[in-house]
Symmetry: C2
Subunit: 325 residues, 2 copies
Amino acid sequence: MSTSAGIRRRTIAGDDPQTLAGVGEFGLIAELRAALPAGPRTLVGIGDDAAVLATPDGRVVATTDCLADLAAMGAVPSALLVALAAPADLPVSWARELAAGLAAECARVPGAAVIGGDTARAASVLLAVTGLGDLAGRAPVLRSGSAPGDVVAVAGPLGHAAAGLALLAAGRTEGPLVAAQRRPAPPYDAGPEAADLGATAMIDISDGLLADLGHVADASGVLIDLSRAALGPGDSLLAAASFVSSGRTGRGSPTPPDVIALNWVLSGGEDHSLAATFPPGVALPPRWTPIGKVHPGQADPDGRRLGVVIDAQPWQHAAGWDHFA
Amino acid sequence: MSTSAGIRRRTIAGDDPQTLAGVGEFGLIAELRAALPAGPRTLVGIGDDAAVLATPDGRVVATTDCLADLAAMGAVPSALLVALAAPADLPVSWARELAAGLAAECARVPGAAVIGGDTARAASVLLAVTGLGDLAGRAPVLRSGSAPGDVVAVAGPLGHAAAGLALLAAGRTEGPLVAAQRRPAPPYDAGPEAADLGATAMIDISDGLLADLGHVADASGVLIDLSRAALGPGDSLLAAASFVSSGRTGRGSPTPPDVIALNWVLSGGEDHSLAATFPPGVALPPRWTPIGKVHPGQADPDGRRLGVVIDAQPWQHAAGWDHFA
């Protein structure tokens, strides 16, 4: 891009032009920039020291995990920053596909755009995405606002990504559950919708329903009682569980498919669906499925606080994902 | 933290409590949270799905590279998000030191705070930092606004971090230049100061003075002519170059120390000093050192655009850093 960078570029002109080393850092940035159009709030986009984003609300919501986190606060995702570290011999086509994937995800949210990022060299490909969002005047929906009497509801699938992962492991490479694992489609607009409906607490289900509702119960000081009947699982999960179960060999009695499927629903992460609590009497739109109720906080006979129970009973299996456990 | 996470935690109680696996993801987050106080603009800090930051200016400046990028736009850093990926056997003390370092960096900028982040497991330690900043009504200072007649000036040291790296490689482990490499101290407040003085273009010097001013020349369509006499190098760099040079063995005539030192000034990155262009006649505060002038864009006899020259002559050595070259 600059003359000085151009001089340096010529010293590596013999490299494969189809790798990052061949196009160079500035060639890569130009590729990404061309594939990622600015959005309506992008005041300064890719190519300067930093990006400038309009925040007419006077607040900005920010996460380094995933865009569904913004929705879980009641915000509309407005911008992405992408830090990419990669080996020098990475094919440029990989970066192009990444840019296409980012552009496709932005296209799911009207007004969202990639506004900046960073590139660096590393032994393996690493991607860190920062999402910024806009509350448009809404109060942020925290984990701590749930109160006894509230209704617990979810928007988006539960356990689909976990079922897809099990199907992949069992050799199946196609179908909607595998697609749910490979590219989850979080219901971004359900977050602001829930905020407008008066949601008292909300969370993005990334570590599993029980684990994430556990965070809400903990932050709000309440007990959440889920209804086994309302949780399903549905026919597609049961069929997947049967398929996975039929391929398993080993000693002892096999886990029944309905238990496998229920465990996906309760403990499977990565769907990035939203769970929220609403005051009693709120008329929920069809995509919000009621799955339980909020009660005053309780402890078990040993004095341990109960977080989430199912039909008033503690769940005895693994609750979710701890990155370091 | 939540009951459900607590159940999972007990399954790994035998692990070393001094590692991330021992404290678990939620223990780690609690550690980081305790070490990183909220700032005056932190509306929702560490612990919910996403953070909420006040942006009373109606715009937010964002970078995934370094805080000096925010200063180079004329913004005051206001918030950090930190994504940490680490092996499960990483000592917790490492994370504590990271938090202390982040807190110390925030303390250099009044009002700045860590507002959120993410943790994940990886084969090696990886850190991605997002910085958010506030323009307080200023127009962002881009790379593209420089005009013929402007004065080029820098705030902060040039080549100190590069000299420190060379000293470390030569076996010296102490002294201010080594400290400049290990912990650069970007002049964050010089960025808004330059914007208030009417700076027409500004950039954070992370890849080397020539390379980064090359970006300004390119974006602005100008030629930047630096003064060899104004660039130094000073006594400390010359002494370091003599030390490094005296330890070098090999065939051929050694590079003279003054050339080594000048190359650090021109091509050394990582100081994160700021370079800016100002309209002629602006009275610069003492920490802004004039180093050159801006001229209309020019091409060499082969038709290649000239970006940055020194005493009207092209510089023949490597200009700076390309992550993938």
